[in-house]
């Protein structure tokens, strides 16, 4: 007889209001996204066009889903791809595996990989699901590549970057305690995100959008 009680639970739920919200029904506008939504990744460039990725594989090392594959190579001395000795020669993310945990962004020492707010992308083949370096890297203007199966809307490119602290310039005591930021192609130096305390106090969302 106990199983009938199970059916009763199901039956009662039919008349409840669903807790899920409809999203992008039809061709309407996208719903606003939470500030910290993790979408698909981009590989960023410095303002001078150099790639930020140095092929260090820390993202791949930290990835719990093992979805990132990176290989480094020597920067050609005459035509370097990134600052320093090493650059990311191969960079692939398998979105069939990625859980968008953002640990890769945390691990990245150069703010090279960040996540956009885009999650409206679906693919029909395994090859499409594995994003290559070419697809992940921002273009000459600093904008993410729009792949055919992705639903980019005007203005969405703006929310592509992270806010990781960069190295403070050494030596000059004038800058003691101040943070230096690396500029980004297309966006320059982004305003820093305030710390938790100040945001709680002001009640604002923190980072200007």
């Amino acid at each position: 007889m106990g199983y009938l009680r199970g059916f009763a639970v199901t039956f009662r739920q039919i008349f409840q209001r669903p807790v899920t919200t409809p999203y992008l029904i039809g061709k309407g506008p996208k719903a606003p996204k939470p500030e910290r939504l993790h979408g698909r990744h981009v590989l960023n460039r410095y303002e001078d066009g150099m790639e930020k990725c140095i092929g260090c594989e820390l993202c791949a090392g930290v990835c719990p889903a093992r979805c990132i594959y990176v290989r480094g190579a020597d920067n050609p001395p005459t035509d370097p791809v990134s600052p320093g000795e090493r650059y990311g020669y191969v960079y692939e993310i398998n979105y069939l595996r990625c859980i968008h945990c953002d640990l890769c962004v945390e691990a990245c020492p150069t703010e090279a990989i960040t996540e956009t707010k885009l999650f409206e992308f679906s693919f029909t083949s395994r090859a499409d699901a594995i994003y290559t370096k070419d697809e992940l890297l921002v273009d000459e203007a600093g904008m993410p590549k729009h792949l055919p199966w992705e639903d980019w809307r005007p203005g969405e490119e703006e929310f592509t970057s992270g806010w990781v602290r960069a190295t403070a310039p050494a030596g000059d005591a004038s800058y003691e305690g101040r943070v230096g930021w690396s500029g980004e192609l297309g966006f320059g130096v982004r305003a820093p995100e305030g710390d938790q305390e100040s945001r709680d106090a002001s009640g604002s969302a923190g980072r200007a959008s």
Binding site: I54, G55, E57, G61, D74, R86, E176
Partner: protein, 844 residues
């Protein structure tokens, strides 16, 4: 042996380590004693295989020797009775933290791009104990980013923490003091001398022992991060020393070898050729599918087709001409298991005894097996005398050279060198007896003869002989490192010399054979007249009766005889098991005629070589790091080889190829796995009886030395008899005796298919003493006319002070002048005439 780790080490004195009484040995360094008792003291400059210098100061700990606690570097301090050590006191921690901060202030934050990141002692120490933030706000020390200090090694001076490990290694271990500190104080840096690269055969070791990423190797640079790598421990088969290595791979590609410290063998060191030969495992030209000659050309084929084709050739030769018409050459590249499988196929199935793993450049099996043998440790034991009668160990067996060098410089071993040219050991030899080529036996005879005769022998003056005799007379055992110093002369003189030296009391021999597993191949029957387990055909026949379908009745031919027979049309089918006679046989003219003279060649190999490209069937074999099994080094030490990656394409293990060929011939070898073969070896080969159990219970790193049990009954062994030595033609003034040795970097597969090393072979030239230069009226780099028995060619000459007057040196298997073209194997000694091209004849 096996229970060494579990044996209680009884110390001669007692120290107090962090409040606990522990034992220590007299003379033992505190840092080593602490580590032995499970207390790790952080360090950078200390390396157990090198002299301590106490430079990095990281290992300072509080020590009280009765006068109150003071900070002392534990790497310099020998344990003393009653010493009280505190490695965790506040004073110790403060001092160590301070040192770590000092090391970090000028160390660049390169960790994300640094090859060492992830396996870096400095990084590990910093993660474990270091400060979270730097108090150093000034700009760091800057140098030009990596500068090449040799073809294989890059130096990043910014990362260097000046621990003196690489420089100490270069000076003390390798004997190539080509890198040193320059400048002083905070500007101190490691560098080479101007225009003198760190051209050492051992440079890769500095990369391995560097405690930071200051030294990186070009072949591994940026290839992977340590956490990508998976590794197995294996034994290097590049030469026969058998160094233990960790084979590391990522994504099914071998990316690095790292030396493993095997106490009886390599002490953690590797030579650069062994270390960087991993590139040839991944070579683009690796054979990945069988090839069968159809319509005059080698075309890809399926395995079934290739095996059937090879079996058909073998079967038809057997039917038409009997087993004596089949020859099998090679096997030194194989594992012991594959060698046994091939021996079983050749001798037990095909029934031919024309089987030889050596290519006319080694020693007869009765010499290898018949003389009392010594291990490397026995050779290098303090207080003895070592006679090196053979090749230049620095060129052919580099890590053996390091062990010998250490023994001479640190353990008071007296070294006598008997060689036709000066070698890497000459500078440290007690006596360096450089003799006329072909007169080795004269020197040996003079050496064991009565002292004070005051006569020269074989071109060696009496004073040098007297020094050598005194060294032997000084007592202690005599160990002979025996091999072929020159392949341009008959082996008989070397054998005769060995037999003369064996008359010295308490003498034993280490066989300086060159190829990877040549010792294992001989042990397991890939040699004419031998069956697995170091026994003769007659001695071993009974033992194999249930296991092998047949056993050859009479001893067959060695490689030289086989090639001669082939050239004359008596040998119909030749099987090359990883052998390339065109490149490796001393007489290339004979090899060429032989390969042209046989009806069919069947080859198994990892690469298509000059010889295998002439074959009718080529079977792709899995190579090093792609197979598991065991291998035997020059001492007879059997150690485990491990598979790390899969072979390219459909390439297969050599034992499986042998098995398939046998099956196609209608015989089941009875092997389904490597373990099956090891089990059969353990019962069928007398010298290897119980090998499987012994290996299972021994340490993987050190392996076991065969024979495991007592000696095999004498009648089953090859008896060592001194052959009649070839008569030597008298020297005359206008001819030069040829000496052919090898360089570490030659045109062999390992170097040729490793991009990082392809530029390293020196190239071929005729090397003469300055005296002969003047006599011939030629200058350095001139082309001269070289008149050899088989041909006359023009070749460049260079001055080589290592070559004595009246001799001419040529390197084997080099581009340009190739020594194999000059050698006439039918002559006991190849004699050249050299003429200047500008009209002056030799001897004028």
């Amino acid at each position: 042996m096996a229970d060494e780790t579990s044996t209680q080490v009884t110390g001669e004195l007692t120290i107090t380590l962090n409040g606990t009484q522990v034992d220590a040995r007299k003379g033992e360094l505190l840092i080593a004693a602490a580590e032995r008792h499970g207390v790790y003291i952080p360090h950078f400059c200390y390396h157990p295989r090198m002299r301590p210098v106490g430079m990095c100061r990281m290992c300072i700990v509080e020590v009280d020797t009765g006068r109150g606690p003071t900070l002392q570097p534990s790497c310099m301090l020998e344990c003393a009775e009653g010493m009280v050590v505190d490695t965790e006191s506040d004073v110790t921690s403060k001092a160590q933290d301070g040192i770590l901060e000092f090391l970090l202030i000028n160390h660049p934050l390169d960790c994300p791009v640094c090859d060492k990141g992830g396996e870096c002692p400095l990084q590990d120490q910093t993660m474990a104990y270091g400060p979270g933030e730097s108090r150093f706000v000034e700009s760091k020390r800057h140098h030009e980013k990596p500068i090449p200090i040799s073809d294989l090694v890059l130096l990043d001076r910014e990362r260097c923490i000046l621990c003196d490990r690489c420089t100490r290694f270069a000076k003390e271990v390798a004997g190539d003091p080509l890198i040193h500190f320059i400048n002083r104080g905070n500007h101190t840096e490691v560098n080479t001398f101007p225009d003198e690269p760190f051209a050492s055969y051992f440079s890769g070791n500095t990369v391995q022992i560097c405690p930071v990423g200051a030294l990186t190797a070009t072949p591994y640079r940026f290839k992977a991060r340590p956490w990508d790598l998976e590794q197995v421990e294996s034994t290097c088969q590049t030469c026969s020393v058998g160094c233990r290595v960790a084979v590391q791979s990522s994504r099914n590609e071998v990316l690095r070898y790292v030396g493993v410290d095997s106490d009886p063998v390599n002490w953690g060191w590797l030579c650069d050729k062994g270390r960087f030969a991993f590139e040839s495992v991944n070579g683009d030209e690796r054979l990945g599918e069988p090839l069968v000659r159809t319509g005059g050309e080698l075309r890809p084929a399926r395995w079934s087709e290739a095996i059937a084709s090879a079996a058909e050739v073998l079967q038809s030769t057997l039917t038409a001409h009997g087993p004596e018409a089949i020859g099998v050459i090679g096997g030194a590249r194989l594992t012991n298991e594959a060698a046994y499988a091939w021996a079983k196929l050749a001798k037990g199935v095909l029934g031919t005894d024309n089987v030889d793993a050596q290519l006319g450049d080694g020693l007869p099996a009765e010499v290898v097996l018949g003389l009392p043998s010594a291990t490397i440790d026995e050779v290098c034991a303090p207080g003895g005398t070592v006679i090196v009668l053979g090749p230049d160990t620095k060129e052919e067996l580099p890590v053996l050279f390091l062990r010998l060098r250490h023994a001479v410089l640190n353990d008071g071993v007296r070294l006598i060198e008997i060689a036709p040219t000066a070698t890497g050991l000459s500078a440290i030899a007690t006596a360096s007896l450089i003799h006329h080529p072909g007169e080795t036996a004269e020197v040996a005879r003079a050496l064991v003869g009565q002292p004070g005769l005051g006569t020269d022998a074989g071109g060696v003056n009496s004073a040098a002989l007297e020094v050598a005799r005194a060294a032997i007379a000084a007592g202690g055992p005599v160990r002979v490192v025996l091999g072929r110093a020159s392949v341009a002369e008959s082996v008989s003189w070397t054998v005769e010399a060995a037999s003369i030296l064996s008359s010295i009391p308490d003498t034993s021999f280490l066989m300086a054979l060159r190829r990877g597993n040549v010792r294992g191949a001989i042990d397991l029957g890939l040699s004419p007249g031998l069956l697995p387990g170091r026994v003769t055909l007659d001695g071993g026949r009974a033992n194999l009766s249930g296991l092998w379908p047949t056993v050859p009745a009479t001893p067959g031919m060695d490689t030289t005889a086989m090639l001669t027979a082939a050239a004359e049309g008596h040998l119909r089918t030749l099987v090359l098991v990883g052998a390339d006679p065109l490149a490796d046989f001393p007489d290339r003219d004979l090899a060429r005629r032989a390969l042209a003279g046989v009806e069919t060649i069947i080859a198994t190999d990892t690469y298509l070589t000059g010889s295998s490209s002439l074959a009718g069937v080529v079977l792709p074999a899995a190579g090093f790091a792609e197979v598991s099994g065991t291998t035997t080094n020059l001492e007879g030490r059997v150690s485990v080889l491990s598979q790390r990656v899969t072979p390219p394409g459909t390439a297969r293990s050599d034992w499986a190829i042998a098995s398939d060929l046998a099956r196609a011939l209608g015989v089941d070898l009875g092997f389904a796995s490597v373990e099956d073969i090891l089990t059969e070896i353990s019962s069928a080969a007398p010298s290897h009886a119980g090998l499987a159990d012994a290996l299972a219970s021994s340490s993987d790193t050190d392996g076991v030395v065969v024979p495991l049990s007592g000696p095999t009954p004498a009648d089953a062994l090859l008896s060592f008899t001194v052959p009649t030595s070839d008569a030597l033609l008298p020297r005359h003034s206008y001819s030069l005796r040829l000496v052919v040795g090898r360089k570490l970097y030659d045109e062999g597969t390992a170097v040729h298919h490793s991009p990082a090393m392809t530029n390293l072979p020196v190239g071929g030239a005729l090397r003469l003493n300055r005296y002969d230069f003047d006599r011939l009226g030629v200058a350095e780099g001139d082309l001269v006319r070289v008149i050899a028995p088989a041909l006359t060619i023009e070749a460049p000459v260079v001055v080589d002070p290592a070559v004595p007057r009246g001799s001419a040196g040529a390197w084997f298997n080099q581009d340009g002048l190739c020594a194999a073209d000059l050698i006439d194997i039918t002559a006991p000694l190849t004699v050249l005439q050299v003429e200047s091209l500008n009209g002056q004849g030799a001897g004028s």
